[in-house]
Amino acid sequence: MAELLDLASSLVDRAVAGEQMEVYVARGHDTEIRAYDGEVESLSSATSGGVGIRVVLAGEGDDEGNRAGFAWAGSLDSEVVAATLAEARDNAVYATPDPDVVLATPDGVPAKELDLWDPGFAAVSTADKVEMALALERQVRGADPRVRQVDSADYGDGSVEVALASTAGIRATTRRTSAFLSVSAIAGEGADSQTGSGFTVGRSAGDLDPDVAAAQAVERAVRMLGAGKARSGRCAVVFDPRVVSTLLSVISSALSGEAVVKGRSFFAGRVGEQVATPAVTLVDDPTDPRAYGAATYDGEGLACRRNVLVEAGVLQGFLFDTVSARRAGTTSTGSAVRGGFSGTPGAGCRALVLAPGTLDQETILAEVGEGLYVQSVTGVHSGVNAVSGDFSVGAEGLMIRHGVLAEPVREVTVASTLQRMLQSILHVGGDLEWLPGIAAGQTLAVDDMQLSGA
């Protein structure tokens, strides 16, 4: 860690007059094991690292504006790093001058120290990891006679250390460990085959619960056997927590201040308006260590903080990084995200949570009475447009009849607009799950969606 920060700082010290510089250095170790048919299909392990350098050239006149350039390399070798710095400097020359292009400066918000590094992580042997993957596969194969195949059973873990330094006074280091087990089951009966997946995530192998992953995969595959197409019509839709996490991730792009200032958000200009039913309170809180995306610092080295986006259905504000905040005439909310050393910062969510309601899934199904329960969706990237709000996804799940889950349904779509869905939320479940990704999820019931099938 100290050595990474030293590397970042030493590069920043090379900045010349008229030049601002930010250096992001990351190093990580990953292991991945795939079990198949009682054997190890593959075992991968690797250490990798890299550097991303942003250079901002100060404008010469008063309204000249600044220019930014970026370069990255998948190596911490000193010659490669030096060449990367030269390239970032050269790239900056060509950017359009813009007074809002500046590096983050420390804003006095204290960083919350989070315990995201499991010291026991390194002590787990490869043999034990292999056995976890093999055991998960056996468990799923043996769980139900209708499980015909286990497509893959994977164990994976990783550790990553990051250091960030800039000429604007940023010095930040973070490190985290993570581990997962995931499994994909195929259930069969006659010519019918259906799939289901399950997973469990944690900070290290010891946090994982293979029983949960196995039970999810088996239940989801088996209960889809015999699925057919439903008839088209309008109905209430109850979404599984995993699907809700996906939906929130999509909505999050319209809550990015960058999308707002660039005219790409349907929420632009609507702060203070009722954009959702009063049951909806939506918060991005990376300081909650239970969140998968929990983080001490954002992608520019400012402290992550709790930001309330929607309260009782009323839009409160957006998430900003430094540049989009200046363009909007406000200050960063500590919400810069970046895709590792090869990405530049932009405004985005890390840990969205819909404030849980009081009802469990069973009660929500009973309240809804008739409709469709959606277990999984497909085509989110091709059928949900976060700019227009148009929403159309492939779905599989079970019909809800007389308040309980009934026959399975596949090859249907559910459609609406994101704007309308937010105004049609019937129930927000109390069954919050801290899922991998940038959003948690719980059962969610949405009224009056278009089901398209036969």
Partner: protein
């Protein structure tokens, strides 16, 4: 799963770039790693036992720029260099990768990859590689020789052209990117192959704003060629197409729901075949009995109008290469002939299990990934009908001018693909524009329902994602009609 070649997320990692040449990496003879070093590393990889070892070396340089909100935000350059080493022992693959291409770095990775060889007893293995045949980049104008200002000029031109297309165009994002990827594959059975892959892409996303809110339009060009692409392609035209796509949807009505006849325009995406059967024909799904097409070779799986080809050799297309990422030459593989399934797609590992040759479809995102079975350019051969006639003979339905991405569950065969420009067909005529929606179908069922294929064949580029790895692919098709497929709009 596939999507358009450039992700639209604000923090996309895909727009990296460089333009000045750095000193050539690697050995004195111009190869990424010298032959004798490779031979010693392969020998070491098998020192603890194992059936086969492979060293995959990659040196990738990327360069890109994005113009957004009338400003060139940032030029970006990236460099990634390293090696992935595979050791295969029975049914098990050991894999490790390193960014250190020195002999010591490669030996350390070989040691890690060979950890799966628990039995031991490999002893000293001597590996003799075939003679080197250096690869030549198949680009007339290497993007690294083109000035940065010249590349940026394309972006500002596109911005102007898009904004001139209509007052309702409220935002324009244009992206340029190029990459040069040098690869080398060496295996313990003596295979030594190299490739030098140059790719160039350009894309425009427009937003139009009207009374009904905002709509988006996207268009891209992406080829396995150098900067000469822009001699053939007019970026103003790309920008106008994207702008028109957004503008036309301002007046769009909700797409219908339920099962309707659908006419897909030539070059509208070809994603239909990529999802409806392409993924299901990948041998890794077949050997695990996780595809609806298992055991179907020789069977009629599609309409007799369907002849489907996967071909990594088609000049300049986005999914092209000389050798795949296991060192096998790209091939032209007929998958479905007149509706009859003729073969699956194979990488080396799955092919070896059944005692046949690779079809040249072993690909990986980078040296940090294991190869798996992937498509290259997948397309339906053109038919004989007139595209206008196909529309004229469709009393009612949906005409899809442009598709976005799609996704498939290979086990059930259910797949979706999304429209980004579509219209109603009424009385044999294309009429009102429709808002975006996904279509959903089951692969084998939809393939049997193709009842007309026209002559107006065209290819489009895309990015295919599978098991966390993205690779460039091409898709192609002429105008065709599906007699019935479910469209997921909001209109009853």
């Amino acid at each position: 799963m596939a999507r358009s070649p450039n992700s639209q997320s604000p923090n996309s990692q895909s727009t990296n770039s460089r333009s000045a040449d750095r000193p050539a990496a690697g050995a004195a003879d111009g190869s990424l790693v010298e032959g004798p070093v490779l031979e010693r590393v392969l020998g070491a990889a098998l020192a603890r036992g194992g059936d086969l070892a492979e060293v995959f070396v990659e040196d990738r340089q990327t360069s890109g720029a994005v113009l957004d909100d009338r400003k060139v935000e940032e030029l970006s350059s990236g460099r990634e260099r390293g090696a992935g080493i595979r050791v295969i022992v029975g049914e098990t693959t050991g894999f490790a990768h390193t960014a250190d291409l020195s002999e010591a770095g490669l030996l350390a990775a070989a040691e890690a990859a060979s950890a799966v060889a628990r039995e031991g007893g490999g002893g000293v293995r001597t590996v003799a590689l075939a003679d080197r045949r250096p690869a030549r980049a198949r680009a007339e104008v290497l993007p690294s020789t083109v000035g940065k200002a010249t590349k940026l000029e394309l972006l500002t031109r596109a911005d102007d052209a898009a904004r001139s297309a209509g007052d309702a165009v409220s935002q324009v994002q244009a992206g340029y990117g190029d990459s040069r990827r040098r690869v080398l594959v060496a295996t313990s059975d003596g295979r030594l192959a190299e490739d030098d892959q140059v790719r160039t892409r350009f894309n425009v996303v427009c937003i139009a704003t009207g009374d009904t809110g905002m709509q988006t339009g996207y268009e891209s060009v992406a080829r396995t060629l150098g900067f000469e692409v822009f001699d053939q392609v007019d970026v103003d035209e790309v920008a106008r197409t994207a702008a028109q796509r957004a503008l036309s949807k301002l007046a769009a009505r909700p797409a219908p729901s339920g099962e309707v006849p659908v006419v897909l325009a030539g070059g509208s995406g070809g994603i239909l075949f990529h999802e409806a059967c392409g993924h299901g024909l990948e041998a890794d799904h077949i050997v695990k009995d996780a595809s609806v097409y298992v055991g179907q070779v020789g069977q009629q799986v599609a309409s007799p109008l369907v002849t489907l080809v996967d071909d990594g050799t088609v000049g300049g297309e986005w999914g092209n290469f000389a050798i795949d990422d296991e060192g096998h030459p790209a091939g032209r593989n007929v998958l479905i002939e007149n509706g009859v399934l003729t073969d699956y797609l194979w990488d080396w590992l799955r092919a070896a299990k059944v005692g046949r040759a690779s079809s040249g479809n072993g690909r990986r995102q980078s040296y940090q990934h294991l190869p798996m079975v992937r498509m290259t350019n997948t397309f339906l051969l053109a038919g004989e009908e007139d595209p206008d006639e196909i529309v004229a003979q469709t009393p009612s339905g949906v005409y899809v001018a442009k598709l976005g991405g799609g996704q498939v569950n290979t086990t059930t065969g259910d797949f979706v693909f999304g429209t980004t420009e579509a219209y109603l067909i009424e009385n044999g005529r294309i009429t009102e524009p429709l808002r975006d929606a996904n279509l959903i179908g089951n692969g084998p069922e939809v393939l049997r329902r193709i009842d007309a294929v026209a002559t107006d064949f065209a290819m489009t580029p895309g990015t295919c994602g599978k098991d966390g790895q993205s690779v460039p692919v091409g898709c192609g098709q002429a105008t065709l009609r599906i007699t019935g497929v479910t469209i997921g709009g909001t209109a009853a």
